[in-house]
């Protein structure tokens, strides 16, 4: 039996090798002519693994943007194409993918990555090679510290914390708040910034509880928080865990008002949380109550293409990410009649008043973060997010 297994293994590996060789030959023959008309971009994100669902939303946003951009063409009629590499938003894999991308001189800019950790692990590699690393979702206030090739697209947790604590204290008049957060750089940034901002306003912190990315049972933490009797509970969560936390809290008879960072802004929140998430207030990075032309256009295309009510934060930011890069490519091509990695960086850094979907307009600050990031409070109600008014 053993030799039989070995034979099969041997046959399989020969098969795989020869398929690889054949594929290599096939794509090599007509590559030269095709490649001249294509500008490649790299996307390093979580397409499998624990965060795969967010990577799926990236792809949806990317696809809509590519259709629009490639209909017109960039840099004098060239097409944009994305090379996907899966990192599972694991810092180790993100660094490996970065090595691969920087070596491929056909790639002009990269979207990387979903989490702060995995963005940072790849950052020194992109920085050294001089390749733009645009991070669509991470919201860590210090995200762009590693160098001048890294760009942030999400309002930072400092921005969010300011908005969340203003909401909790000034509008909801809470005296006691509690925080439940995902124990990662992202979640800790939410917790630290909210706690600092709330304490500055003289509010009592009735509990700080963390959980792990793999957790689905939050009852132990919630039971503990219940004893502190907070009026408002702040969530530093993504929508999947956020929905389950609110649901389990209601099961335990916790009636506090939940507010959450923009990462729960997704229609999936309602599928997972049902009626339990009614009344949850979160921050939208995009202007739901008064959408601009870009957002209206994207929402309409997203709804018809994916048969969903509305796009979520992740798809919208992915859509903007590509449009920003395409814009930078066009501008550098106009000026220099050619496209370089450096040229894209320079033009991206000087982006000013660019009409976008995830924000009404995007202007990059000297730190390559959003200048005047705006957040729009929205409330979850019967399967829809509505603008929140007092």
């Amino acid at each position: 039996m053993n030799t039989f297994v070995k034979k099969i293994a041997g046959l399989l590996s020969v098969g795989v090798l020869s398929i690889g060789l054949l594929a290599g030959c096939g794509s090599g023959s007509d590559k030269a002519s095709k490649d001249d008309n294509i500008i490649y971009l790299g996307a390093a994100g979580p397409f499998t693994g624990d965060n795969a669902e967010y990577g799926t939303e990236w792809k949806k946003g990317f696809d809509i943007a590519l259709e629009e951009i490639n209909a017109k063409g960039v840099a004098g009629g060239k097409k944009l194409q994305i090379i996907y590499e899966d990192t599972q938003s694991d810092p180790k894999q993100s660094a490996t993918v970065a090595q691969k991308f920087v070596k491929n001189d056909k790639i002009y800019a990269v979207f990387c990555d979903f989490t702060t950790n995995s963005t940072w692990s790849a950052a020194p590699i992109y920085q050294k090679a001089g390749l733009v690393q645009l991070a669509p979702n991470p919201s860590h206030p210090q995200l762009t510290k590693p160098g001048n090739y890294i760009f942030q697209l999400c309002p930072t947790q400092a921005d969010q914390a300011k908005a969340l604590s203003t909401l909790a204290v000034d509008e909801l008049k809470a005296k006691k708040i509690a925080v439940i957060y995902l124990n990662t750089d992202f979640g800790k940034a939410v917790k630290d910034n909210v706690v600092t901002a709330a304490k500055a306003k003289g509010v009592e912190i009735a509990g700080e509880e963390s959980y792990l990315p793999t957790d689905k049972d939050f009852k132990a933490q919630l039971t503990k928080i219940k004893t502190g009797n907070p009026e408002v509970i702040v969530l530093g969560s993504y929508y999947t865990d956020g929905a389950l936390i609110v649901k389990q809290a209601r099961d335990l008879g916790i009636n506090a008002q939940f507010i959450a960072s923009s990462s729960v802004h997704s229609p999936a929140l309602f599928q997972l949380g049902g009626s339990a998430v009614n009344g949850l207030i979160t921050m939208s990075v995009f202007n739901v109550s008064n959408p601009g032309e870009t957002l209206k256009n994207f929402s309409a295309k997203y709804s018809s293409k994916y048969k969903a009510n509305e796009p979520d934060t992740f798809a919208t930011q992915a859509y903007d990410a590509i449009r920003l890069i395409a814009n930078a490519i066009n501008k550098t091509y106009e000026k220099n009649k050619k496209v370089t990695r450096q040229g894209i960086r320079d033009e991206l850094a000087s982006t000013k008043d660019f009409p976008a979907a995830s924000q009404d307009s995007i202007t990059y600050s000297a730190n390559r973060q959003l200048e005047n990031a705006k957040l729009y409070p929205i409330i979850a109600k019967d399967g829809k997010f509505l603008p929140y008014k007092k």
Partner: protein, 290 residues
């Protein structure tokens, strides 16, 4: 808060226990460990969920689908990963089941997508409120079903002829073979039993948390394996006691010390118990494994 945390812990522990007895059953009879048990839990959950959705809410048929699919997957696992290597290194089945677990996760991811699927019914509608403690109907259901299945498993092993054969095989395969027991069939029955329990557990856990996703079996199966070892791997009662106590310890650690240190505390206690009593809480002499 104490009673509430104990209820939370018991529910969590019941979900661990149904997986833990499976580990115990397989390890008790073969002295080998399977690493794809969590994925059998997951595909049981998915087949149950999709049957329920397809039939417009037929819960018993959903449960039946979970049982049939996971039992079939268990028997298949035994044929592919264990039978060819029975008298060889236990490393081969370990590696094959790790590979199997990765391919099953990836397969489900490709088939059904990465997003977390909710359970289409609100299962926490009924609540019992005792002072400060809230017990939802589904918690009672989860704990109840888990205990019921354990009792049935106990009766099966100790009071049926197949159970007798199972115990004989676990004591010594060769001797059982000579005595005319079809050990191949008995081992397949052990896998089948362990797997159908995992499948039911998967559907229960998915409904309880209202979350079905390709990696749902990963963390819980590791905890269940730890619980089984804690209680004494190879012993059914031990696995059950170990899993329940692991659930309660975790809840109490999160409630009274810190949720960040929950696993650290739970596993430190586990290591100490194993240092003092290497066979686990209820582990006995090797001869009485199943």
């Amino acid at each position: 808060m104490l009673t509430q945390q104990i209820i939370n812990g018991l529910t969590l522990g019941s979900l661990y226990a149904l997986l833990a007895v499976g580990f115990s059953l397989i390890c008790g009879i073969l002295n080998m460990i399977t690493f794809s048990h969590g994925e059998i839990f997951m595909i049981g959950a998915f087949s149950g969920l999709y049957t329920i959705i397809a039939l417009g809410g037929n819960l018993p048929l959903g449960l039946a689908a979970a049982v049939v699919v996971s039992a079939a997957a268990g028997i298949l696992t035994e044929r592919i990963a264990f039978r060819p290597f029975r008298n060889e290194s236990p490393l081969s089945p370990a590696l094959i089941t790790i590979g199997l677990s990765i391919s099953l996760q990836a397969g489900i991811l490709l088939l059904f997508g990465a997003d977390t699927k909710p359970f289409p019914y609100n299962v926490s509608a009924h609540k019992f409120i005792l002072g400060n403690t809230v017990i939802s109907g589904i918690e009672v259901f989860v704990i109840g079903i888990s205990i019921l299945l354990m009792i049935m498993l106990h009766l099966f092993i100790h009071y049926t002829r197949w159970g007798l054969a199972l115990r004989a095989t676990s004591q010594r395969i060769e001797a059982a073979d000579i005595m005319g027991i079809s050990t191949n069939r008995i081992i397949a029955i052990a896998f089948c039993t362990a797997s159908l329990l995992a499948g039911i557990d998967g559907l229960l856990a998915g409904a309880y948390y209202s979350a079905f996703y390709p990696r749902m079996g990963v963390a819980i199966s590791l905890k269940a394996l730890a619980g089984a070892t804690f209680g004494g791997i190879g012993s059914i009662q031990g696995a059950m006691a170990g899993a329940l106590s692991l659930g309660v310890i975790e809840s109490l650690a999160a409630g009274y010390i810190s949720a960040s240190y929950r696993d650290v505390i739970a596993f430190t206690i586990l290591i100490f118990v194993l240092l003092i009593k290497p066979s686990g809480l209820l582990g006995q002499m090797r001869e009485e494994k199943v």
